[in-house]
Every structure is written in structure tokens, then in C-alpha cells.
Amino acid sequence: MCGIIGFISKKKRPISGDKIAIALDSLKERGNGQGSGYVGYGIYPKYKDSYALHVFLNNTPDYYEIISKVKDTLEKYGKVIKDEEIPTNGEILKKEFIPWRFFYDFHSSYRDIENDLMVNMVMEINDKIDGAFVFSSGKNLGVFKASGWPMEVAEFYKLDQYKGYMWLAHARYPTNTKGWWGGAHPFNILNWSVVHNGEITSYGTNKRYVESFGYKCRMLTDTEVVAYIFDLLIRKHKLPVEYALSAIAPKFWKEIDLMEEDERKIYESIRMTYGGAVLNGPFAIIVGTHEGMVFMNGDVEKNNTMIGITDRIKLRPLVVAEKDDLVFVSSEEAAIRRICPELDKVEMPDAGMPVIVKMEK
């Protein structure tokens, strides 16, 4: 059991991070204080074209050496423009790790493959550099997470000082691995961020599937694999997003068998080809997406979007609400009403049916 909430302004209005913290605080019943986290999109306008890497460093006296190792890895392909400790309030939580951020640009010669290189570097740092752990690697966004209650984590990271047009948040009740800072949600790779309520029962299959494409699951928890599957299917394989989501929460064979021939063929092919990407088990997830998603009608979405989806028999709750330019997705309506009491519309999506929120054009 975990609590999740996310909201997006379709007009890209900047909204302060303390709002999401208030909403998440009302979901603390669904957590146990062993992990809370946030991701804000659009929070680094000054560095919006640079990768913002958030890294946990072991809180040991030699942490400077770890920083230089991380820098060495990064500077093989580009330049660290700026790096600094992420401002925190040490009175709220014991600093088990030192959160550090790097703003980073690739050399122009790597422009075409920079996303793939970034994925590889994140894998390499997490795999090979002792004491360093990259937990956020997108552009103009940042993940803030730690072991603690929602309000503690928000105040620890001084979330009220950031403004973003999309925020996702998560209050954790760990069930499969022990609570630690890296195990808190959101999980992020590039501009993909995932918050997840539930358990990926197919984790063993999914992990081995993404690993055969070069991803490395190192965070000891099932949710990171969701981020890698989104990256693989939508960014790398360029599947139309609706079909990619149907690979993740597949239609039942009895529905597929009744479809028109062309459509049936597509859904059958998806299930045959992407069996390893099926997320089985109870889940409701909210995903902040990478830009460049292709839709079934050929549209390419230049912006980041917000997607909410549940497993195909809806073993976890998900509710969607709208107010003006704002769209909310959450485990519970109460969390939404806490920050936006008057709503235009509230809906419960059907099992396995995705909600995709795009920017207004």
C-alpha cells in the first residue's frame, strides 16, 4: 500500500512544490514514514537545456573523492557546468546521504545519442562507483526523496523554493524491500519518472527482460523496472504510446480475439513481442514522460506529459480530476480536494485504461 498523487498544468504554469507536499501529506495513512518523494518538472529554468543529475553520496568524510569519480565518468562525453549540494534542512532528517546535483552538457558531437549515453552513464555510475547513486537524470526536472514522512521530506529539501508545471509524489509503505533513501519513489531515468502504488509481481520476468537490453536494475525495488520499460518501449522502440501502454497492461485474449482483423493482428503482435514487458500484479502508476512520444495518429508530443494507468484488473485505486488547466491523478480524491477543493470533474478510469494528459497547444 502506498499513496500517489500527481498534477500538471496544461498551460505550463509554474506551481510551488509545497502544494504537492500538502496533498501527499493527506495520503500518509497509505505510507509508514519509511520513504517519501517528489519530482518537479520545469524546476530548473536557468539550466533547462542541461541534464540535471541528482546523486546520493555516501555521507563519509571522503565524499569529495566520490564526487570526483562521478565527474570523471561524466566528463568523458561532456562538461559539468555546475555542481553543488542540494540545499537541505539538516534539522528535519538525519542526513544518511549527501544529495548532490550536477548540471551537465554533452559535447555537441554526441547530440544524437546523448539520451542513450546518459542511460549508460547512469547505469555505470550506479554499478561501478561505490558510494554514488544517481536518482534523477532528466532535463529541467529533479527528484527529491528520502526515508521519512511526506512533510519531513518536503521540508528537508525545501520544496517550497522550487516551482514546476508538473509534480508527482509518493508516500511509501515498503513491502518487498527495506526502506532506504534510494528505494523511495519517484524512480527516474532521463525525463521518465514513475510513482507506483502496488507490487510488480512479474518483476523477475521484467527485470531479466530489460536487462537483456542493457538496463541494470540496481535499486533493489520493483518500480525502477517500470521506468526502464517506458524508456525501452516508447523512446527506444518508438511504439505509439497507446500501444506501448497496452503492452504494459495488455488487453485480454478474449477481447483481442473479437477485434477486427487489422486491430487483432496489432494487439496479438504486441503481446507476442512484448510479453516480457507486461506488468503483472496490482499497480496504479503515474508517469511523467520523456518528450518525443509518438501517438497512434502520428502526432509527436514535444512536451512532457503525465500518464496514469492501473493494472488490467484494477487491483489498486486511481482517480482523475480536472480544474481549469490543472489535471490531477491520485490514489484518493481526498488528496486532490485538499489542495483544490472545487473540482470541475472527477473520474475513475477503467482497469488498464490509460489517462494521458498533454500540454495545451
Binding site: 500500500m1 513491502t175 518487498n176 502496488g198 507490487e199 509481481t201 512479474s202 518483476y203 523477475g204 520476468t205 527485470k207 531479466r208 527482460y209 536487462e211 537483456s212 537490453f213 522502440h237 518508438k238 511504439l239 505509439p240 500501444y243 495488455p250 485480454f252 485474449w253 478474449k254 487489422d262 493482428k265 496489432i266 503482435s269 504486441i270 503481446r271 507476442m272 513481442t273 512484448y274 510479453g275 516480457g276 507486461v278 503483472n280 500484479g281 496490482p282 509518438v294 497512434m296 495518429n297 502520428g298 502526432d299 488490467r312 484488473i313 487491483l315
Partner: protein, 510 residues
């Protein structure tokens, strides 16, 4: 003279108080154990192999078959079996023949693996109330799907639509991940083959024809058969290849890796001779290697030739025995045009195998699945080719564990024969099978009722299918692809570190 008979293995006793001298046993026993002598049934226990036909048929339950108590001096090294084999071989100077699978007490890893179930954090799913999907596709899959966007005019509006560009090669569609293994017509009776074919059709699965061609009586079920090309090429022609749903090249067999096959002339009846396209009464000997396959590239060529011969419409599988280097060989197969790799473990059954092979050559199927699945993943080709496991799969739990270790589907052979009546007496090579299964003698074959047999086999597959659904539901999974290679849901018990590493699973408690 050196006396060279050994004491009978079994002792057949008739309770004369119960026996009513109906002579049913005399008629039923094809081994000649019984003879009527005036007011008594006389038994020749040395001919008995404990196939229990007589026990099953005696209307008065008058017959008991016990192990012969005549004892040998106990010795841990010079066991009774060892001494018997020496006595027999020193008498005949021959290779010892045997039937069924490995009879040594080597580990059955399935029995040291336990399954997971959901408690609280993820709900178990009730297959009686929720869909539970076992549909499995066997064959080549693409690494990824590609789409193109085509503009269409609908109601005067131009709309772009994603169309699938990737064409997936033909696959076999299974409604349950259980298939019936290759057992040839010739080794088995026509009635057994008909019963298995009907059951395969009813269950939405497939049966292997073995290396014996396809009898015309099976033509109505041909689209539920997988034809086989083994080293003897018996019964193979274009018509045969085009009829089946898939083709399997058999390189080796788990019960006798490295050697060919032998169907004794006694079993080559007129019908078998026609189907196999060999002379009646002649021994059918399959050579050890395929004489056109002396390397992996030769195999790749044969795969391609078969595909060309069947216009690339029919999937081609390659079956190998599980041997030490199985993972590398499987990878070679996976990178050819083959659609599936079949691995047959050392406990796999057979009609006739030299005992020394049956009991000593090859490796356990559990370790072979784990090694092949892992290797194909390392090479990045696992999702493009299917793995079929066979050899000693006894129940639904073995099927479930095979899939979790990394198989797509399994073949079951011995279990199907047991469903037809077989008691695993292991004398299939004699052609005397009293149950009408592994024989060509018309009076014995007629004992096996095709409809009843088909019903039994279908029942078995359905029962296992139901159990697999229950196990999946308990594991919180509602489609079989989420079990495939999901070794997280397995734990070992009583296995050492090396065994756990080879299986890719953790020990219980971790």
C-alpha cells in the same frame, strides 16, 4: 556349465481361494506368465515385469505381484542390479537394452524447488472469477515492432493511423503450455497415436509425430501435429512436411544422447512399413548423426531448406539432448532460422535405449533450461526464439517450475502414456506391451480404446492446466508470460551454492 539365470525380479502369486479359473490372466498377459494346468493357474514369475495388466483385469482380485524376496548378499558397491547386468552380459556378449527414462537415483531438482504465493501485499487472483491466460505462442518473434503512419480519408477528413510494419513469422498457438512429446508410430500403436492426436486437438495443443511419419488415419488431426525429421528420415516427404503445424529436426534425445534410434523389425508391421516407407519386418535404424549435418552451419542449412520446402509457412524446431554444452549449442540454433529450441533432459523416456546411455549420459533438464535461458538472454536473443523443455516432467508443478526457470512450453511423453494405461514397466522395445500402447500386434493394439484413451489424455492435460491456473493465481499473476523466466518466484531447498547458482535461484529463507 556356469548357471547364468538370475532370480526373477517379481513374484506372482494367485490366491487360489479367490481364483475362479476364468483364465482372464492367461489371455491378458502378453508375456506368458500364466498357464492353466488342470484346476490351477501356474505362474512363470521370471517373465513378469510388473506391468499390472493381469492385476487390473482379474475379476476376483486374486493376483498379487510382489518383489521377489529371494535375497542377494547386500553390498553397497556390488548391488543386485550390477551383478545381474554382469551375469546377463557375460552370457550374451551384448549391449543391455532398456526402456523409459534414467532409472538411477540422481537428483530430481524439481523436488528441491518450491513456489511462491501471495500474502497481503499483492492479492492472489482467483482463477474461477478472473481471467487467467495460458495462451502461448511458440516460434520466432521480432526484437521490436515497427509502425508506419498512413494517412486515410474518413468522412472527408484526413486522419493518420499507425499501421504495423513488422510481420511476425508463423507461430504455433497453444492454449496451454503443455504439448505431447514425439513418440513415433511404430514405437507406439496407431490407437495410441490416434488417442493423443484427438486429445491434442481438444486441448488446443500439439503432439509430436516422432520419427515415424504420419499415418493417414491422423490426417484429420494433422494441423495439431508437429512432424519430425530425425537422422533416419523415415516417412519424410514434402506432403508430410506440409501437413504438420510445425517441423522438428531431432538431433538428439535425452534418454540416449549421441546415438540414433532402433525400431526392431518385429514392430515394423505392414502399416508401419507404409508410413515409414521402409520394408516390412526390417529393422528401422536411425544413424547417430544426421549424415547431412556435421556442423552447426549444416544444421542452419537444413533449417533453411525445410523452410524453403514449406514456403516459410511452417515453423521449424530443433531438438537436442541436454548435454554439458547445451547452452552454447542452443545459442547456435537460436541464431539460425530455427523458431524454437527443444531441450530434452536425461530423465526423458524412450522405447529402447542402451542402458548405459539411459543411466549415464546427459544432464538434468532443470539445469539445462536455466543454462539455455540465461545464455540466450546474455546473447540478447531470448525473446526471439522459444524454448521447449522435455524429459521427466511428471505433473503441473514440474511444468510451472520449468516455465519459471525459463521455458516457454513443455513436452510430456511418459505421463501421457501412463494416462493411456502404461505402468512404466520399461519393456517397450519388446513389442509385447500388454496395454496396447507400445506394440503393433493387432490383438494387443485393439485393447486400447481410442475414444477412451483420447479422453484420458485430454483429462490429464486439462487437469494440469487447471492446476497451473491455480498456481498462477496464487502467485498473483494472470498471464503465463509473466511467469516465464520469473525465477524470483522459485526458491531452492537443500541445494548447495553451486546448484543454486546454476539454477539462478535463491535458497528458501532469502
Amino acid at each position: 556349465m556356469i548357471p547364468s539365470t538370475v532370480p526373477p525380479k517379481y513374484k506372482v502369486e494367485i490366491n487360489s481361494n479367490r481364483c475362479m479359473l476364468c483364465e482372464r490372466c492367461v489371455r491378458e498377459c502378453s508375456w506368458g506368465v500364466y498357464r492353466r494346468d488342470r484346476n490351477k493357474i501356474v505362474t512363470y514369475s521370471n517373465r513378469c515385469g510388473a506391468c499390472q495388466r493381469c492385476v487390473a483385469m482379474c475379476p476376483r482380485d486374486a493376483i498379487t505381484v510382489n518383489k521377489n524376496a529371494t535375497c542377494w548378499r547386500d553390498h553397497p558397491l556390488w548391488t543386485r542390479e550390477v551383478r545381474e547386468d554382469i551375469i546377463n552380459q557375460s552370457r550374451t556378449g551384448c549391449i543391455l537394452l532398456s526402456g523409459m527414462g534414467n532409472a538411477k537415483e540422481l537428483p530430481t531438482y524439481f523436488d528441491n524447488i518450491v513456489l511462491d504465493a501471495c500474502q497481503v501485499t499483492n492479492p492472489s487472483i482467483d482463477p474461477l472469477r478472473e481471467p487467467m491466460e495460458l495462451r502461448t505462442y511458440i516460434g520466432k518473434k521480432p526484437k521490436k515492432l515497427e509502425f508506419e503512419y498512413i494517412e486515410e480519408e474518413i468522412d472527408g477528413k484526413k486522419i493518420k493511423k499507425a499501421k504495423l510494419k513488422t510481420n511476425i513469422a508463423p507461430n504455433l498457438k497453444l492454449e496451454t503450455p503443455i504439448m505431447i512429446a514425439h513418440m513415433s508410430y511404430g514405437a507406439l500403436s496407431l490407437n495410441s497415436h490416434l488417442a493423443m492426436a484427438k486429445a491434442a486437438k481438444e486441448c488446443g495443443t500439439f503432439m509430436g509425430t516422432g520419427e515415424g511419419g504420419l499415418h493417414r488415419a491422423l490426417y484429420p488431426y494433422a494441423n495439431h501435429t508437429i512432424t519430425q525429421i530425425a537422422s533416419g528420415r523415415f516417412g519424410v516427404n514434402e506432403d508430410y512436411l506440409m501437413r504438420g503445424a510445425a517441423i522438428e529436426i531431432k538431433i538428439g534425445q535425452g534418454s540416449k544422447p549421441g546415438i540414433g534410434g532402433h525400431l526392431p523389425g518385429e514392430k515394423v508391421s505392414a502399416e508401419v512399413s507404409m508410413t515409414r516407407m521402409i520394408p516390412e519386418g526390417s529393422d528401422a535404424i536411425s544413424p547417430a548423426p544426421h549424415h547431412d549435418i556435421y556442423s552447426i552451419e549444416d544444421l542452419a542449412q537444413l533449417v533453411r531448406s525445410l523452410k524453403e520446402a514449406t514456403r516459410w509457412k511452417i515453423p521449424v524446431f530443433v531438438k537436442i539432448a541436454a548435454v554439458h554444452n547445451v547452452a552454447a549449442i542452443a545459442n547456435g540454433i537460436a541464431t539460425s532460422d530455427a523458431d524454437a529450441v527443444v531441450i530434452d533432459g536425461f530423465k526423458g523416456g524412450t522405447g529402447a535405449a542402451p542402458k548405459v546411455f539411459r543411466d549415464n549420459v546427459g544432464i538434468p533438464i532443470e539445469l539445462a533450461i536455466a543454462a539455455v535461458d540465461e545464455r540466450l538472454r546474455e546473447e540478447g536473443v531470448r525473446n526471439e526464439v522459444s524454448i521447449i523443455a522435455s524429459g521427466g516432467i511428471r505433473n503441473s508443478a514440474d511444468v510451472f517450475k520449468s516455465i519459471a526457470l525459463g521455458a516457454d512450453a513443455v513436452y510430456i511423453g511418459t505421463a501421457v502414456m501412463v494416462a493411456l494405461g502404461c505402468r512404466v514397466c520399461g519393456r517397450c522395445y519388446t513389442g509385447q506391451c500388454a496395454w496396447g500402447i507400445a506394440t503393433q500386434k493387432p490383438e494387443l493394439v485393439n485393447r486400447l480404446d481410442v475414444e477412451e484413451g483420447a479422453n484420458r489424455v485430454a483429462n490429464l492435460i486439462k487437469a494440469w492446466t487447471l492446476e497451473i491456473k491455480e498456481l498462477l493465481g496464487a502467485a498473483g499473476i494472470n498471464s503465463i508470460e509473466s511467469l516465464r523466466g520469473n525465477r524470483d518466484r522459485l526458491r531452492g531447498i537443500g541445494l548447495n551454492d553451486v546448484e543454486l547458482e546454476a539454477l539462478g535461484i535463491k535458497h528458501a529463507g532469502f
